[in-house]
Each structure stands twice: as structure tokens, then as C-alpha cells.
Symmetry: C2
Subunit: 420 residues, 2 copies
């Protein structure tokens, strides 16, 4: 485990806090002014709660009703071809619950039953096949955790720090544990012809959202998934079947998977050429930029998650990920990048999956410029915004993996800012 | 990764199925009788689905409404001091979603806000302390996955195969990724006196559910947790704060954590002596049997998850776990224990956490007695029911970790049975 480091200022917690006059060591402080929450019997300690037959399937408690997906109305022309954002500022650990994981659809989230479901495999195969859902469940199943990031995550930042809130700035991402079957096993069942080089994946929804993918990736780690975080995929995540394409941009993860065509070349459909290409400084556009480079973001404190206490111990936390493999290290700076110190990587560090980091510090109560920097196992270092703009200019939309800067004010409020 | 084994009968999938006359290679079979789901445009392919602003926090799709917690009314006198069961027969992977993870309370699930929350630490400490929720969030946070199993899981099986359904028989278990702070860090803040040997943990609910725990465990891997599977604990799982006691029986995982008392001996409260002790054959009772021994169960096929297809490829899957560490191996038998073969361990194999196993076979369509056997990293082998009864008799309630047997009939239906 990488998070075994002992917290450095253990004994300073109590004494430091008292000296600073905070309510941290509450018992000691409150001994003089009794706390009715401690000294009197409260209703929850004297009345029955909810019985076990009350809620067959539970939802978050009402006090957490702010921890939800949110969309930005002006960002897209229609909410049917649009995106919303994961409340990453309020989450912890590495798993993203399906209920609040961001959605992106091109013609809305469709409702498709298992009995109505079919998967067709055709094109350059020996045996064109149609599978029912039950057929797919008879292939060997595997379990894999992977992050899914929209290529446009952080896209508004190309032109400057435009959105307040970690959720809106970097929330087009989620991380789930999937169970399904390898796409390569399904392709082997159909039998690839020697000239096969690409696949083209389509969804059952009206947009069909067709995407070309080199056969090399399709035969590597691409999963035809049925379950996420232990249960069936939710409707908005592609029930009953979606593609999981580890490390690659989210638009490749075709939902409500309808067809895998096998070809000798890329199809170059409208959506994979008119969009999801990277406009460069000189007006030309890069295409086939599928892999999501190493990136990280501090989720708390952040614009929607201000510091709600005074000086003393402060936990900085965030997420890091790389489409190229494992995260090797995350550095944190609290002085605008003048100095950096390594954060703890907490829990699992899996390839192509979100990694949680924590940085424990003593805050003196003055303002800070906080930022995180991911380094992945290939040695790649997350760049600054200036470094990215040097090559790609200001008019890009996709693949912004630049270091995100938050300005923490002395009152604990946090703002999205840029630094020179 | 331990699940890289290539499925042995790959090419037999198609040809074998066709020979057996099943609809497995559906495309080939259906070429003669066109499938309208393939040949005509369906509503979900021609109409808009749900927009991104429709569901801020999602629930499972209506087709999965059977995948819910269920309770057994006659099992307890009141639903306020009772238990329900995780639908493990319908889940996959390793994570249990909070929404359908089993609940056990002694006086109902209470609603307690973060602002009303307090944690008291007293007894044999240098500085008795009271923490607010915000105080606790200032300790260094850690991430850990752990299974939580009720000591009574499978308890009805002591007297015979009494309940139909994997959910009801073995569903008092869940597995989540927790984020919180080490209890040892909180105890260090209060300062343990030299004579401290035990802690006593109490909840905010009316039952208070007090539990004694040796200090050695409290200082080892016990977590004071705030988040599960990435988001805040749900109300029924102890919002805003619960204990996580890896590998130990579920009743120690005190929810709505109110107080940690430190003592030189065990408190021996009513609930930890009148219940949660193990009645032996000779009428005496064992106490302090906290660790959950290695165990496994096949979740599908199982009584609520029959085989819905004909002979040919069949996926057997299940869960294995050990309170003593990692699962080393899971064996599967399809002939009532005469012969065994190792299953694949899919995805992560973490200590004191659920491990998913898969066993891929070709079913000839005849009846089977299927069972799984877990072996943990200490070398301990999951026992048979007969072996357990030899020592403990038939009147026990707790700590049944015996091998579970399912009878698969030729029509695919599955029953809970005992074998001699």
C-alpha cells in the first residue's frame, strides 16, 4: 500500500488548533459550555428509525441532494445531444456511482430491454452473427476497472478559466468496475478475414454514434460490458450493453451497442471527422487522437468545495489518471508551481483507472494557488496550459490535460484562475 | 492479472451450439427467418431518448426492478430490529452498490445530519475529546475495500437447506470501497493511557449497539468511514460516519458512530453476550469469535438465477472471501464434490474483500450438483456442512461458512439442497 505514510503533524493537531483558537479539539473547548448534542438525549437516540422493509433500493440521504449531475444549458443547442457533469468535487475514493456519473448522448438516453436487444457482427468476417443478450452472457466474463473521460473534458479552459466549479471544469469523467466479455472473443466467434484492419461500432440509439477503431485496440483490452459497479448498467450508461475502451476518449465507448462491423479501412463517419478532431494553431486538425494523456485535478478544496474551517490541518485531495497506464506519482503545489511535493496515492493504483491522491498539510490561513501534476508510468508529465497552447493555440476543444489552478482565498473560498 | 486464461472451447461455441440445435449462433439460425428486431427500424432507433437534464441522480432501469434488497418477515419479530438481503444472485463483479446492499439494524435506520453529528472519545485517554464531522475530515484520509458479512449469514443452513434463493441463503454480505480516517489516528489524538486494552464503540441510534474490541484490532486496520463506493454513506449504512472493521463480523461495524470508549477490559454489553456467541454441540457457547473464516458461494446459476438456455457453453460465477486475508484459490465441483477444478479469479484479489470467480464449462444438459470451495492465503480450506456440524452441532446460528450446494435440474431450474 502506498498510503502508509504516517501523518507528519500528528501531535500538532490538538495543540496547534487550540493555540489558533479553532473549535477543532471540540471536547476540551466545549467542556466549559456544554453541547446539547452531547448532554441531552436527541430524537434519533430515543426513537425508532426506518425498518428494513422500507427501502428495497436506496437513494442518497436528503442532506446530500446537492451531489448530483449538473448540465450547463448554454453549452449545447439541445439537451438531447448534450452532456452533464459528475459532482467530482463532492466524491471521494476512486469509484464513481452510476447514479451521479456524467452522461453524454447524441440523441438522448434510450430505453432498451434485454429481450429486445441484439448485437450484429458483420463485414469482413467468416460468419456474420446476431447475438441475443443471453448469448453474450455465455462467453467467459471478466472484471476490469476503467476511467471514461469525454475528449472535451476541460475544453472550456482552452480559452481561459471560464467555468466556476471543479464539477463543471473537469467533471466529464467517471470510473467504474465493469463486468463483461472481451470483444476479441466475440470477433473470434465470427472469424476475422485476413484483410480485416478496423472495426466500426454503432449504437441502437437514433444517432447510432458510429466510431471506427483499429483492430489492434479491438483485440487488446476492449470489453463488451453488461455490469458496472456490480449491477446492471443504468439506462443512461448504455443498458443492457456498452463498449468499454480503456484509456481512450469517451465517445468511443459506444452505448446500447448494436453492431460491430469489420472493415479493411476506417469508415470516417460524420461524428468522427466533423467532431472529435483537434484544431491546431495553424488551422489544421489532428484526427484519431484517441488516447487520453495523463492528467490530474484537485477536487477539494475547489470552487464548489471551499475550506469550511480555520487554519491548521487541511486535507487536499484529487484524482489522477492516464490512458497510457498507471499513475506513477502526483505532485501538489500550494504556491502556484514554485515548489512541489509528492502526494500520497490512496488505495488502488490501476492502469487506465482513476487514482485518488491526498496531500496533508498545515494551512496558515493565508491565500494559496493550489495545483496538482500527474506523472504516469511512461514518464509523461502533465503539462501546463501555456505548454499546450504553445502547440495547439486557443481554439481547440478537445484533449485539454493541462494543470488546473485553484485560487484559495484567506476566507476559504476557492476560484478557478489562470496564472502566467 | 489472474483472468488471462483463454477460454478453452472457443471454436466449439458456434459449431457445438448449432449441432445441439440451440439458438446460440443466432445470426446463422435466423438468416432463414428474418428477425424484425434486426430488419425493421425500432422506436428506440428513430426517436429521441431522455435528455441530459432529466435525471440528476439516476436509479436502475425499470427492467431491473427485481434486483433489490428483500427481507423475510418471519425471520425476526420486528422489521425495526431485523435484516434484509443483498440480491447477490443478480450482481456481478466485486462492488456492491449501496442501494441494494443488505441492512441490519437493531432499532431502525436513523437520519442524522452532519451538523448534528458528534463523535466522543473518552475513558482511558489523556484528553477526552468531542469531534464534529468537519473535525474528522481534517485527519489524513485513506481508501480501502472490505467485505461486511453478518455473523448470521447462512445461519438458517445449520438446521438444513431451508431457504430457496442465493439472496436469502447467503445475501447478508456486501463489499464496498470506503474512504475515511484510521481509528488509530483519532485515538492517538486523544492519547491512550498505558492501561488501555479494549475499546467500546457505540452508535447514535436508540439501540446504541455497543461493541467491545481489543485495542490491537482498533490500532490495526479499523477505519472511521465517511464515503462508500465514492459517495457519502447512505442513511441505512450509517450516514454520516460508521466503523469499518475489515474481516470481522458485521455487527462490529457500528453505524452512526457516536462514541469510542477506552477501557482496561471488555464491557460485555447485552448484545455481545446474549447474541453473537456461538452455541456448541455440548451446550456451551463460544464468544469473541469475530473473524469471518474463508467462504464462497456460487451466485449464478442459483435458485433465483436458473439457466435460461440449452446445453453448450455455461458460465458459473460466484464470490469468495476471507477475514484472514486474500483468497488464494477457488475450486468448483459440478458433480457433488467428487471432482474439483480451479475457477478463474476475475479482477482484483484484495485482502478481506470479495473476490469474483468464474468457471467456464460446456453443459451437456443433464442435472448437476454444483458447489464452490474457497482456500485463503493462510491455507485454510472452506469446510463442508458435515465437518462444521461435527464440532458445532445443529443449533448454532452464527459463522456458517460451509460449502453451499445447488442442485441444477435438466430444465435449468436450481434448488438449495444438502448432500450426505
Amino acid at each position: 500500500m502506498s498510503d502508509e505514510k504516517i501523518w507528519p503533524s500528528r501531535r500538532g493537531f490538538l495543540t496547534g488548533s487550540l493555540a489558533a483558537g479553532t473549535a477543532l479539539a471540540a471536547g476540551t473547548v466545549r467542556a466549559a459550555t456544554p453541547d446539547p448534542l452531547i448532554t441531552t438525549v436527541q430524537p434519533w437516540a430515543s426513537e425508532l428509525g426506518e425498518p428494513v422493509d422500507a427501502v428495497p433500493y436506496g437513494m442518497p440521504i436528503r442532506f446530500e441532494s446537492h451531489v448530483v449531475r449538473r448540465n450547463v444549458e448554454w453549452l449545447t443547442e439541445s439537451p438531447y445531444s448534450s452532456i452533464n457533469f459528475t459532482p467530482i468535487h463532492a466524491l471521494e475514493g476512486t469509484i464513481t456511482p452510476q447514479g451521479c456519473a456524467f452522461e453524454r448522448h447524441h440523441s438522448g438516453a434510450i430505453e432498451l430491454s434485454k429481450s429486445d436487444y441484439r448485437l450484429m457482427v458483420n463485414g469482413l468476417v467468416e460468419r456474420p452473427l446476431v447475438f441475443t443478450f443471453e448469448d453474450l452472457m455465455r462467453f467467459p466474463r471478466h472484471v476490469m476497472t476503467a476511467f471514461c473521460e469525454c475528449a472535451a473534458n476541460g475544453g472550456m479552459e482552452w480559452g481561459g478559466a471560464q467555468l466556476q466549479g471543479c464539477q463543471f471544469t473537469q467533471g466529464m469523467i467517471h470510473n467504474m468496475e465493469y463486468t463483461g466479455v472481451w470483444l476479441r472473443d466475440i470477433l473470434a466467434e465470427a472469424g476475422l478475414k485476413p484483410e480485416a484492419r478496423w472495426i466500426f461500432a454503432e449504437g441502437h440509439d437514433a444517432s447510432s454514434n458510429g466510431r471506427s477503431m483499429p483492430l489492434e485496440k479491438a483485440l487488446d483490452d476492449v470489453m463488451v460490458a453488461f455490469f458496472a459497479n456490480g449491477e446492471a448498467l443504468r439506462k443512461e450508461h448504455g443498458y443492457p450493453v456498452r463498449l468499454v475502451v480503456p484509456g481512450w476518449e469517451g465517445n468511443m465507448w459506444v452505448k446500447w451497442l448494436r453492431r460491430i462491423g469489420v472493415y479493411d479501412r476506417a469508415v470516417e463517419s460524420r461524428e468522427e471527422t466533423s467532431k472529435y478532431t483537434d484544431l491546431m494553431k495553424d488551422g489544421r486538425a489532428r484526427k484519431w487522437t484517441w488516447v487520453m494523456d495523463a492528467k490530474s485535478v484537485i477536487t477539494s478544496p475547489s470552487p464548489q468545495a471551499p475550506i469550511r474551517h480555520g487554519p491548521g490541518p487541511l486535507v487536499i485531495t484529487g484524482l489522477a489518471w492516464s490512458g497510457h497506464g498507471r499513475i506513477a506519482r502526483v505532485d501538489v503545489s500550494v504556491d502556484g508551481g514554485n515548489s512541489w511535493a509528492p502526494a500520497r496515492l490512496s488505495g488502488d493504483v490501476k492502469p487506465k483507472a482513476l487514482t485518488r491522491f491526498h496531500y496533508d498539510m498545515t494551512w496558515d490561513g493565508s491565500e494559496m494557488l493550489i495545483m496538482s501534476r500527474a506523472i504516469d508510468e511512461t514518464g509523461y508529465v502533465q503539462p501546463t496550459k501555456a505548454q499546450l497552447r504553445e502547440i495547439r493555440g486557443l481554439n481547440n476543444v478537445y484533449h485539454n490535460n493541462a494543470i488546473q489552478v485553484w485560487w484559495v482565498r484567506a476566507n476559504g473560498e476557492v476560484e478557478n484562475v489562470e496564472i502566467a
